[in-house]
Symmetry: C2
């Protein structure tokens, strides 16, 4: 299935908006979970098997693979293949925040979509349309462009007032303008739900929004769902990374039991809020 | 040597500002240059040996390694080690355009500086200070933040008028404000020399500027040197990637002869213009 069918199926049939982050930071695992030939892949495989039924997407944060060198690239490749083979209903997002000019972005797009086989990628639009279209030219892939990010300092740049309104609103409009293939989405952090509302009010509901910041960063899930989805529940992917993968540090049970129960908790909270909103 | 000593030494003693891009796109090489166990590393090694005497920096564009998967990571690692061992006078820049929040950027920084051993990196500041300090916290490393990039569409975002002046000028000021460790630089494209002048007028000459866009993109070298360097010739690295590595497609001689003669031509043009400007 292509990205659109995958997301529609997750929204309408599988009733999940949960994006599970595979930020597989090996330093955070205890000794016994770091042994073996390719422990990063092993941990991913376990987490995927434990949560794929409630996952709309898996998002792989490239940093944590890059830091492992050759082993990390192998783990990244194997993880994506594993998801594609075993859970073809689940979207794969390569969270790589790419942003570079034409020929370089073409190479990144080829690496992400062809070599790795990802369905989707995150992209930084600071360099303008040049930096986005080499990705969106892959018409069956989904490209999330940063709009209003979830981190504390994001406003420094993104709230720069342009003559009428802040930069992130101009960015939202520009992303809309770049969307001639219909396969752009954007990133808006859950930590700024009012900004999310403004973006939706302006651009409508065509583009999906990837929403980080709900877990560890403490974003407001209810507001995100209210402002971010349409009457059918279409429109957002709620990402949780550390809050699921590293739940074992704070909760009962082994790595995988803790991850499963944290994922289920987010999943159920999303469902119940969507039901309260009358959208599912 | 640390980055500052390396750049001072290149500027004052070695008299070179040339940054040679290792954008080693294997698709652009003919069959006979693509054989062997690790041809990407072999091509780099030959180019490095042929030009290190006139190079202030080698810049490795991560895209072209990523696209080769595990082999690319191996080539990237081996290339950096090779430069560090054989040409310790030459700065190594990982051109990766990273831009992500805290814990992710920390992982990218560790990957770039510790695992790979790069001296410097390129970073995208759209996410604000959070996205920059995890890199500049490595105090002996140099961090180039995107300011006014060289690509055609860059102005769409970067020329957004904030109340007083365009976004890239605000970005230049912010980068200056983030520079508490004294190890930030910025990227300003040679295709916009007037903007480069404005940036220098505002921020002075403390921060080095990495200048892409002189080769294939046709930027104005004379203006870049005039506006970008101080009276001692300090202040810029002039990057040329395709114009050197793929010179063999247009010029006489084999891969390495063509690359050497293109590099020499850029090198000599820089020198002669610096002499005309009375700065060397």
């Amino acid at each position: 299935m292509k990205w659109k069918e995958l997301l529609v199926n997750s929204t309408n049939n599988r009733r999940t908006l949960l994006c599970i982050g595979l930020d597989t930071d090996m330093d955070k695992f205890p000794e016994e979970l770091r042994s073996g030939e390719l422990p990063q892949f092993d941990r991913n495989k376990e987490l995927i098997d434990a949560t794929a039924d409630i996952a709309a997407a898996f998002k792989l944060n490239q940093a944590f693979y890059e830091i492992q060198g050759v082993k990390g690239v192998t783990a990244l490749e194997k993880t994506i293949s594993y998801i594609k083979e075993n859970y073809p209903d689940v979207l794969v997002i390569l969270d790589a925040m790419k942003g570079d000019i034409g020929n370089t972005s073409k190479a990144y797009a080829k690496a992400a979509f062809e070599s790795l086989g990802s369905d989707s990628i995150t992209v930084n639009g600071y360099m303008g349309k040049d930096a986005v279209t080499p990705f969106s030219d892959h018409e069956d892939k989904l490209v999330f462009v940063l709009c209003r990010t979830s981190n504390k300092a994001a406003g420094e740049v993104q709230n720069t007032p342009s003559p009428v309104e802040p930069l992130y609103m101009k960015m939202a409009e520009m992303i809309g303008g770049w969307n001639d293939k219909g396969n752009l989405g954007m990133v808006v952090g859950a930590t700024f739900p009012e900004e999310l509302k403004k973006v939706r009010d302006r651009i409508g509901f065509q583009m999906p929004i990837l929403v980080p910041g709900v877990g560890t960063q403490g974003g407001d899930l209810e507001k995100v769902l209210r402002h971010g989805t349409d009457e059918n529940g279409w429109g957002v992917l709620i990402n949780v990374s550390r809050g699921i993968m590293f739940a074992f540090q704070k909760e009962e049970g082994n790595y995988i039991e803790a991850a499963r129960s944290a994922a289920l908790r987010y999943h159920e909270e999303i469902r119940s809020r969507m039901e309260s909103l009358g959208r599912w």
